[in-house]
């Protein structure tokens, strides 16, 4: 292959996206652990680690720009770089949602729990699973796998609906719960947005592989 060095750099760029992805998955998981276990130290850690994710994003962006400037990529090579730039933006936003949830955990502090957290961890688990598989599809250049993930966002949306209704009932029954319920609603909303971001990643994978831009899975929210 005449452009061995370039293609090696391109593979490294994609590997970097996976590394950033695993940092983001960890942030989502830890933020939920912090909420569930009232672990303020862990929550603070998630907020601090968000800076590292931001740094990683800029590092990948810089590498991608370097490759475009110096290597003048064409066709699928160019699409990989363009998709990478888009995917890291979504990853960075997901990380912000995770950090947002960690901040809510800090805000809740040691207030008495409103209810045991059941659906929010489920939403988190589902979001992490979808994110993980979307990045597998990215690294394997598998458009079909990416397309299959998109409808699963409905599951997160349904859980969000469920949480919303449940919290609404709490607030109607006892207005003193409004503050605590609203905070949990924010958490649910962050997770719902995370699902939408994963859908964006899947769209980019399809573009990267096929060259076609497809709007997939229009969210209800």
């Amino acid at each position: 292959m005449p452009r061995e060095t370039f293609h090696k750099n391109l593979r490294e760029l994609q590997d970097d996206v996976l590394i950033m992805g695993s940092m983001v998955e960890k942030a989502l998981d830890r933020a939920m652990q912090a909420l569930k276990q009232r672990d303020l130290e862990l929550a603070k850690q998630v907020v601090t680690d968000d800076n590292n994710i931001d740094k990683k994003r800029f590092e990948i962006e810089e590498k991608a720009i370097q490759l475009m400037v110096c290597q003048a990529p064409m066709a699928s090579d160019l699409r990989i770089i363009v998709a990478t730039l888009s995917v890291i933006t979504d990853l960075e936003r997901i990380a912000d949602h995770a950090a947002g949830n960690a901040k809510i955990a800090i805000m809740i502090g040691d207030e008495p729990p409103l209810k045991p957290l059941i659906d929010l961890p489920r939403m988190t688990e589902k979001a992490i699973d979808m994110l993980h598989r979307s990045l597998d599809a990215f690294i394997n250049h598998d458009a079909d796998a990416a397309r299959k993930i998109v409808p699963e966002d409905d599951e997160i949306d349904n859980l969000y609906n469920q949480v919303f209704r449940e919290l609404l009932v709490f607030m109607m029954e006892d207005p003193r719960t409004v503050t605590r319920a609203t905070r949990l609603l924010w958490v649910a909303h962050n997770l719902e947005r995370t699902g939408d971001r994963v859908t964006n990643i899947c769209e980019r994978v399809v573009f990267m592989v096929t060259g076609k831009m497809e709007e997939m899975g229009v969210s209800t929210y």
């Binding site: 292959m1 452009r3 003048a72 064409m74 066709a75 699928s76 090579d77 699409r79 096929t210 060259g211």
Partner: protein, 271 residues
């Protein structure tokens, strides 16, 4: 070949007329087949780039349109080549007249060893223009069209060979324009030029494509991507004959080529 291409830069948004047409063309040099079964239509007033690895028949393909392959002994063409719907390989076709309609610019600038003025006036004189004032008009118009006038207007009497490489190439383009061609064939016109001179020629090509049909053979894929509306990718088959792999609007070829071989070539995975 039918075309309904929307060409680059929004310059041409409707279907362009086909100016040049190759239909099932085979080209042989003696027993060696250089081109195999090539069919494509080149749109009028647009730039078509021909790309492909060395030896795939790009230049041979280009020379089909001005019958320059005939200068090579034992060259033989099968199939149909048309300009404006008329076959150019008929016996009745006057080759001199054909080459006036289809000008050519080569890899290395090749001004004649004579003055700038005489270089540009050479063609019109050969075609019977003798009036000084008429020749002056032609020379000025051609040099202006070739974006060279401002640089040489005060030294029209100087030898064409005294100009810089980039200027010499634009002088050669002016020489082609002087005989008012319909088509300009360019065979690696920038490969001997520095980057600035290259960009000047590319800019000139874009301007000229408003009036002329241009085909450019280039090894520089960035150049093909920058300058052309349509791109044709040729490569060799097992017998080393050039075959057409893909022909489409340039932005398609360079962003989402349909054929794996085009993809591999333009991304540098072979070649």
């Amino acid at each position: 070949m039918t075309t309904s291409y929307t060409l680059q830069n929004n310059k041409i948004t409707h279907m362009n007329d086909i100016k040049l047409m190759a239909e099932r063309v085979n080209l042989y040099y003696g027993t060696f087949q250089a081109l195999r079964n090539i069919s494509l239509g080149i749109p009028e007033r647009a730039i078509t780039a021909v790309i492909g690895p060395s030896g795939c028949g790009k230049s041979s393909f280009l020379r089909l349109f001005n019958r320059m392959n005939e200068l090579i002994p034992y060259a033989r063409v099968e199939g149909r080549v048309e300009i404006g719907g008329v076959s150019i390989y008929e016996k009745s076709v006057n080759v001199v007249e054909l080459r006036k309609r289809v000008g050519m610019v080569f890899q290395k600038p090749n001004p004649f060893p004579m003055s700038v003025f005489d270089n540009v006036a050479f063609g019109p004189r050969r075609h019977g223009v003798s009036s000084r004032s008429q020749l002056e008009d032609i020379v000025q118009r051609s040099l202006r069209q070739a974006a060279l006038w401002d640089e040489v207007k005060d030294k029209l009497g100087q030898s064409g060979l005294a100009l810089s490489g980039g200027q010499q190439q634009r002088l050669c383009i002016a020489r082609v324009l002087a005989v008012e061609p319909e088509v300009i064939l360019m065979d690696e016109p920038c490969s001997a030029l520095d980057p600035i001179a290259t960009l000047k020629i590319e800019e000139l090509m874009r301007n000229l494509s408003e009036e002329y049909t241009i085909i450019i053979v280039t090894h520089n894929m960035q150049q093909a991507a920058r300058v052309s509306d349509m791109s044709a990718f040729l490569m060799m088959d097992r017998d080393r004959a050039g075959i057409l792999i893909e022909y489409a609007p340039t932005r398609e070829v360079f962003s989402r080529p349909k054929d794996r071989r085009t993809e591999d070539y333009i991304t540098g995975r072979f070649g």
